[in-house]
Symmetry: C2
Subunit: 327 residues, 2 copies
């Protein structure tokens, strides 16, 4: 399997991309293609052998650029070249930690969406006490129509099944009450069309996300993105509060290491670097969106997600879902 890395995308590019590629080379059976500035990549490699194909380009899309404009004007941007390789079947998947909006725009333009899907979408897996919950959309689509949310549900079910290994995933709709009549105009209309999915369990409130009521939780990308970032900030704040409280307490020095480990374990579950990226769902090709602040481990884990998405035939799974449910 061949996977292209956008070596110029992300807050710590190209450093973490190259280091992540080395970890992947040692641990996964994949061929990697690094798309980016060859001189910089060689500099990072240093004395090490460079067991990757390199496609050289100096052009890159920055994090703060307007997505569609950047994709159109920068024909030789590392991201654009990587996605073109996927279109031309020179690679099986693309991983980028760069500008997410640009990735969505680029993939939509060059690869198009799966038939029956109007908007590509991204989601995130939230670990709870008992099982993972997949929240979709988390930022690709801001002002949504009910039918988009319906399509997110279908794609989320496919993801939950093929990537998270959940049989017959249940779908819930993020809302402010359990009754069908609750919500804003978007969720009320969405509820009506989601009812045609046999595994639709109804509305899910913010706290229900953790209560094993649904495997896939659907929302528009505005609320999904706020929730995702809120969760990051909240986890970080909690960790600091608990560590602060512990520092003030009189626990024997010898016990502190165990307490530290326990806290590390609990919080590592919410460490995005453990999860790597998430597929851009609904696109005709495996595109893995990694976090902009990815470190090398997160890049490695994103490459793993790419490999799993290809092996588990995620695209076919989504096509199957669309065929079953989309009218």
């Amino acid at each position: 399997m061949r996977i292209a890395l956008d070596a110029m995308g992300g807050d710590f590019a190209p450093q973490v991309l190259v280091e992540g590629a080395y970890i992947a080379k040692d641990n996964l059976d994949v061929e990697l293609v690094l798309v980016g500035d060859e001189a910089k990549i060689r500099e990072i490699a240093g004395n090490r052998e460079l067991p990757f194909e390199i496609i050289h380009t100096e052009e890159a899309i920055q994090m703060n650029e307007h997505p569609a404009q950047a994709v159109k004007s920068k024909k030789r941007a590392s991201l654009v070249l990587a996605v073109e390789m996927l279109r031309d079947k020179q690679v099986d998947a693309v991983v980028s930690a760069g500008n997410t909006g640009a990735f969505v725009a680029c993939a939509s333009l060059i690869l198009d969406t799966i038939s029956g899907i109007e908007r590509p979408s991204i989601g995130i897996t939230i670990p709870t006490l008992n099982h993972p919950v997949f929240i979709i959309d988390t930022g690709a689509n801001i002002d949504c129509k009910p039918v988009y949310l319906y399509q997110f549900a279908i794609m989320g079910m496919s993801y939950s099944h093929s990537i998270l290994g959940i049989d017959n995933p249940r779908v819930g709709l993020i809302n402010i009450g359990s009754e069908e009549t609750k919500g804003n105009s978007l969720t009320k209309s969405t509820y009506t069309i989601l009812k045609s999915i046999p595994n639709f369990v109804g509305n899910i409130e913010g706290n229900d996300i953790f209560e094993n009521k649904a495997d896939v939780v659907v929302c528009d990308g505005f609320i999904g993105n706020v929730l995702l970032k809120f969760a990051e900030g909240f986890a970080y704040t909690f960790e600091r509060m608990i560590r602060g409280a512990l520092a003030d307490s009189v626990i024997p020095r010898s016990a502190k290491i165990f307490v530290d480990n326990a806290i590390n374990n609990a919080f590592s579950i919410y460490d995005f670097s453990e999860y790597g990226g998430t597929p851009l769902l609904g696109i005709n090709g495996v595109c893995i969106v990694a976090h902009g602040r990815s470190n090398a481990k997160a890049i490695y884990n994103s490459i793993k997600v790419a490999k799993k998405s290809v092996e588990s035939n995620l695209l076919k799974e989504i096509e199957k879902g669309v065929a079953s449910y989309v009218r």
Copy 2:
């Protein structure tokens, strides 16, 4: 000061209302009026003296009733009688842990809003590492117009100043990026009008809520309500994860109590019973909305919030804010 309690409202009414009233009687200089079923209240009091005025009624609005309909049809509901007492200046404030929608409807109908405010609003204080952040609206207003969010900002500033003691509170807008052009159609339009507030600091992402970038964070009630409940579920899950990890580790028995205390301290910060209720802002009268699952301590703390709201002249503060900022 006289405060009326809707003794029939909330998941554990009238029990927790009566017990909360006893705690308040012992700790605060207030006169309390319990509006509810006298026989039930006397039964809970048992052998204790009953140092409260009781307004007897057997009618109550249930948690799942349609708010406006219930308020209109149940003329002698405990909530309705309590709010009428406030209108007639027989009490200085009302506390209810009952149906929030009904409380909003009832207060709007009987007391009306402050001139210049179109929609009453509720918020919540989120403690962070360094300072409290007031998020408004958290559920009173679902489909919002930009001007509502503008008015929430003004009311939030008044609350932050008079109740949380913050000078010149800074206002942020919940959004998915820091740039002015980011967001959905509601936030883009809201940004434009919020710019007229000198203390407007721009967009606040989910993680920024914890980063001391703003004192008042404005959003529509849909997202505010999802966030509020998400935070509750998240904190609970975290606590269980950490306790689980600790149970599996080999910390000496003697140290466990210190670790337990540290965790209790950290999590107590997110325990809503410590905070009590939150005022229904924008209404011509002090109405305190307590959590439906309030225990006696939460009721006591809600009575404290009522007292503080009256003493700090919260209504005048909001009127002042409206006069300064609302066109």
